[in-house]
């Protein structure tokens, strides 16, 4: 857990000798797996798009040379204006990495190439990692990696990061590209529509005159036409000139730079709003041509059919919902039932054995009564309670949840539930954050970042606490046993209590929808916005690895957070219960 999020766009060059590798790629291409494999860090990888939002860093070495790997948020493109894309784009351009590693999904090469081509417009210091080769083989796809490298003009390494296949070749290629200064002859976009092209050419020539030797004049021209504020600032301040070795001795004057920006503003009125459309068409046209040339299909493989059949079952009108409810109930039942025994054991150990032992020790050491009270009766007891109540259910819930996630089932849940959320004015992905909330509301709120639109993200965050998190399950069960369980004969008590808790959970779900609806019709008005959700192919989860990483990443992380609050709270509770001031 040494993953740190730091300043989003600072250049890392100041740290001498480290070769900086930027890791870019579409969401859900195994980017995080590559990151973990290379650095040995355990960043959680899930089978749903949008896991990495802030920048994570790790390091590794190859041939005795230290490398610093920066994981950028997964994006489909660098041309929209979402914050993720800005982070990624700014780092690739202004962060000046020694090499940009672009992870692409071999099974969906054509779509992934869109991003590759955009990055190649910015920099030629790039390596393409053709990941998920194992899956491509299972789907009956044959990809000519060499042909692809020839077409793109940058090295392409075929890998299967989950098994570690091809990673050695990847690191040595990275080393080669990062330490060589030879410019690669990378792929350039073909010219677009005549009207647009005239504008781009005019602007590009202007940029090349001002900043001779600039490797990406055309791309800068495109960004200026799109009135990208960051790029305008970079031109205005002359920062753009510092990013490469200029062949000119003097820097362009401020007046020159200003007139360049004015030209851009004028051209913008001419190209109008269709500009973006034309550019995307060109990009995808080029991507399709490249993909056609290097991908051979041997017909849909058996895996593909299996995916299809599973999807038919899991999203079917009649079976979709029952299966979903059964799975949810199953996960919750396993959590509640399974947590019982270890919970009791832990409580027995921490409260009935260690606590008296500590008390005796304190007596023997003759420490003052108040210190003993604050540390042992206050802090220790609170921590012991939190650990014994929260740890077992979390240690069961999170791995189960992660298994479903890695398998690819969760996006199907969002797919099925979306129409309900749409009617409540919310986003389908709120289904994901809500089910996350059953494990831990903090995790659920954090997960809300996968929702694009701020309005719907806010709704998801505000209503997340109605998902009954498993820290609250034990209390619910206790209360239900006392109040409801007591009303029925003993042999039904457990059943009645379980039903009562389930009813409370369902009320929570109903409240989630109700409040979402109220919010989206009052303070957060507006219809539900664009919803698009990628349904990734099913991937067999790796059981032990999942159990291990979800325990480390989620369970311990959440437990640590809880402990941070519990310790001072324990002191306060002890102090308020002890009448400290009258005891002396």
């Amino acid at each position: 857990m040494t993953t740190t999020a730091t300043c989003e766009i600072c250049p890392l060059h100041t740290r001498q000798r480290d070769l900086v590798v930027a890791l870019a790629g579409n969401p859900n291409t195994g980017k995080s797996t590559v990151f973990n494999r290379l650095t040995g860090l355990h960043q959680h990888t899930g089978n749903w798009p949008g896991k990495t939002v802030t920048r994570a860093e790790g390091s590794f070495s190859h041939g005795g040379h230290p490398f610093r790997l920066v994981d950028l948020p997964g994006t489909y493109s660098l041309l929209s204006t979402s914050s993720d894309e800005e982070v990624a784009r700014d780092f690739i351009l202004f962060g000046q990495p020694d090499v940009t590693l672009i992870v692409v999904d071999a099974t969906r090469l054509e779509r992934n190439l869109n991003l590759v081509l955009q990055i190649l417009e910015i920099t030629d210091r790039a390596v393409v990692c053709l990941n998920l080769m194992d899956e491509a083989r299972r789907h009956g796809l044959e990809i000519d990696a060499r042909g692809l490298a020839r077409k793109l003009g940058v090295p392409v390494v075929a890998t299967s990061a989950r098994d570690g296949e091809g990673l050695a070749a990847l690191t040595s290629t990275l080393h080669e590209v990062a330490s060589s200064s030879v410019a690669q002859n990378r792929f350039r976009l073909p010219d677009t529509e005549p009207g647009l092209d005239a504008a781009v050419t005019t602007l590009r020539d202007g940029i090349e005159t001002l900043f001779p030797g600039i490797p990406n004049a055309r791309w800068v021209a495109l960004r200026l036409l799109d009135q990208d504020q960051r790029m305008i600032d970079a031109v205005r301040s002359g920062e753009l000139g510092d990013l490469f070795e200029s062949t000119l001795t003097q820097t362009p004057t401020e007046a020159d730079r200003h007139s360049l920006l004015e030209t851009a503003a004028e051209l913008r009125w001419k190209v109008g709003d269709l500009f973006h459309d034309l550019l995307m068409e060109t990009l995808y046209g080029a991507a399709a041509r490249i993909a056609d040339a290097v991908v051979k299909t041997r017909g849909p493989g058996p895996r593909f059919d299996l995916d299809r059949r599973l999807d038919r079952l899991l999203t079917n009108r009649w079976t979709g919902f029952p299966i979903m409810l059964l799975l949810l109930a199953g996960v919750l039942w396993l959590t509640v039932e399974g947590a019982n025994v270890p919970s009791r054991l832990l409580a027995g150990l921490l409260l009935d054995t260690i606590h008296p032992a500590l008390k005796t020790l304190a007596l023997e050491l003759a420490i003052p009564w108040w210190l003993d009270g604050v540390l042992i009766d206050g802090m220790y007891l609170a921590l012991a309670w939190v650990v014994s109540v929260m740890l077992p259910p979390m240690a069961i819930f999170f791995p189960l949840f992660t298994l479903l996630e890695d398998f690819g089932y969760l996006p199907r849940v969002a797919f099925n539930l979306d129409s309900l959320f749409r009617r409540a004015g919310a986003h389908g992905k709120q289904a994901l954050t809500m089910s996350m909330g059953f494990g831990c509301n903090a995790a659920g709120v954090i997960a809300a970042r996968v929702i694009d639109s701020p309005r719907e993200r806010l709704i998801a965050m505000l209503t997340n606490n109605f998902a009954l998190c498993n820290g609250r399950w034990p209390t619910q069960i206790l209360l239900a046993t006392i109040f409801i369980g007591a009303l029925v004969p003993d042999e039904f008590a457990g059943f009645a209590a379980a039903t009562a808790v389930l009813v409370v959970a369902v009320i929570g779900i109903i409240l989630t929808f109700l409040l979402s609806w109220i919010l989206s019709n009052t303070v957060l008005r507006g219809e539900a916005s664009a919803f698009s959700l990628e349904l990734p192919p099913y991937r067999p989860p790796r059981f032990w690895q999942t159990v291990y990483t979800s325990f480390i990443d989620r369970t311990l992380f959440v437990l640590w957070r809880a402990a941070l609050f519990a310790a001072p709270a324990g002191v306060l509770i002890w102090a308020s219960a002890t009448q400290v001031w009258q005891r002396r």
């Binding site: 054509e110 995808y284 999807d311 639109s453 959700l533 349904l535």
Partner: protein, 346 residues
């Protein structure tokens, strides 16, 4: 000893006093504040509306008089004359005989208001689900309350749009504004093909009719037939009829390269399970973030698409696009025009 009232009553009285004073004097929300700001803004709003009115007239190469301004702002002629005198005193307008012209500073201020108005309309169109008929009204209110950096922040968040959803150019922060492009729809001949570039959003009654006909900038027009009582034409392949008065609100630009007639408008939402199609284009009323998202997903002309499955509840539908399975809601899918194909293309 004073006669102390019972604690309960004392508490209640204190709380009541506190609450009342809160309601009255709470900064920025309270009654006093409200009264003051309403008095202030109404003054400012009137001035800005007047400047904007004069600006629009000038933009359309018409002049403004005391009478026409009174009519525009729905105030009496007396009030209008008073207002113009104030504007003159503030050096925002100059008078030439009967007509009024904006001064340089008046023009700057008017452009700023227009910029906010059009940016706000763009925001409503792109990032919220507020219905098109409410954009103008909402923007009328917002244009006076958004100032300074907030305006530029809004613009950059929208990706600095050039045109608002009605096709009006948005003034830049520096106050540049090009002339509105296009010719009236009524001037088209039956054989000409054109694309809508501007739709007038006032008066609302006419605009609603245009909305009902789904006429927005970007829609392709051909086969225009004008008679004294009816204007009929095809918009994106649909047969439409408007009154000449209504059709006068639409400006078009004739197209040099015709994209081909869209004969049977089919969209992604019309496809059945297992059907294959090829994307023709993304409809013009899908804008901003939605449009960019669709394109990021690889939906551009000639992309082959296969309708794969419906979700359990029926609405989001999963399509196979460029090798991946993408779920789209019907309200988004119906913006994507497609042509059914029998064999998978290529």
């Amino acid at each position: 000893m004073i006669n102390v009232p019972s604690p309960g009553i004392a508490l209640a009285v204190t709380v009541a006093i506190l609450l009342t004073s809160l309601v009255l004097f709470w900064p920025a929300r309270g009654w006093l504040w409200n009264l003051r700001s309403r008095w202030r803004t109404s003054e400012r709003v009137l001035i800005e509306d007047a400047l904007k009115g004069i600006f629009h007239k000038e933009y359309a190469r018409q002049t403004t008089s005391v009478q026409s301004l009174a009519g525009h702002l729905s105030i009496s002629a007396n009030q209008s004359a008073e207002l113009l005198t104030r504007l003159e005193a503030l050096r925002l307008v100059t008078r030439e005989g009967d007509s009024v012209r904006l001064s340089a500073s008046g023009r700057r201020r008017a452009l700023r208001v227009v910029r906010v108005h059009r940016l706000w309309e763009s925001f409503l169109a792109r990032e919220t689900g507020v219905h098109a008929s409410q954009w103008h009204e909402d923007a009328e209110r917002r244009e006076h309350s958004l100032i300074g950096d907030d305006v530029d922040a809004l613009a950059s968040r929208l990706g600095n749009p050039v045109f608002d959803p009605h096709g009006d150019p948005i003034p830049t922060a520096e106050g540049e504004l090009p002339p509105r492009p296009g010719i009236p729809l009524l001037d088209l001949s039956p054989h000409e093909a054109a694309v809508v570039v501007h739709v007038e959003d006032e008066p609302e009654a006419l605009y609603r009719q245009l909305l009902a006909a789904d006429l927005t900038p970007g829609v392709q027009i051909d086969g225009v037939v004008v008679s004294p009582t009816r204007v009929s034409f095809r918009a994106d392949g649909r047969q439409c009829e408007l009154t000449p008065l209504c059709a006068a609100s639409v400006s078009v630009q004739s197209q040099t390269h015709h994209c081909g007639p869209v004969d049977t408008p089919q969209t992604l939402a019309d496809l059945k399970v297992g059907e294959l199609a090829s994307v023709v284009r993304i409809g013009p009323s899908c804008r901003g973030l939605e449009r960019r998202r669709l394109m990021d997903l690889g939906i551009v002309p000639e992309t082959p698409v296969c309708m794969e499955m419906r979700s359990a509840a029926g609405d989001p539908v999963a399509y196979r696009i460029r090798g991946s399975l993408i779920a789209l809601r019907a309200n988004l899918a119906r913006h994507v025009h497609v042509l059914r194909t029998v064999e998978p293309p290529q």
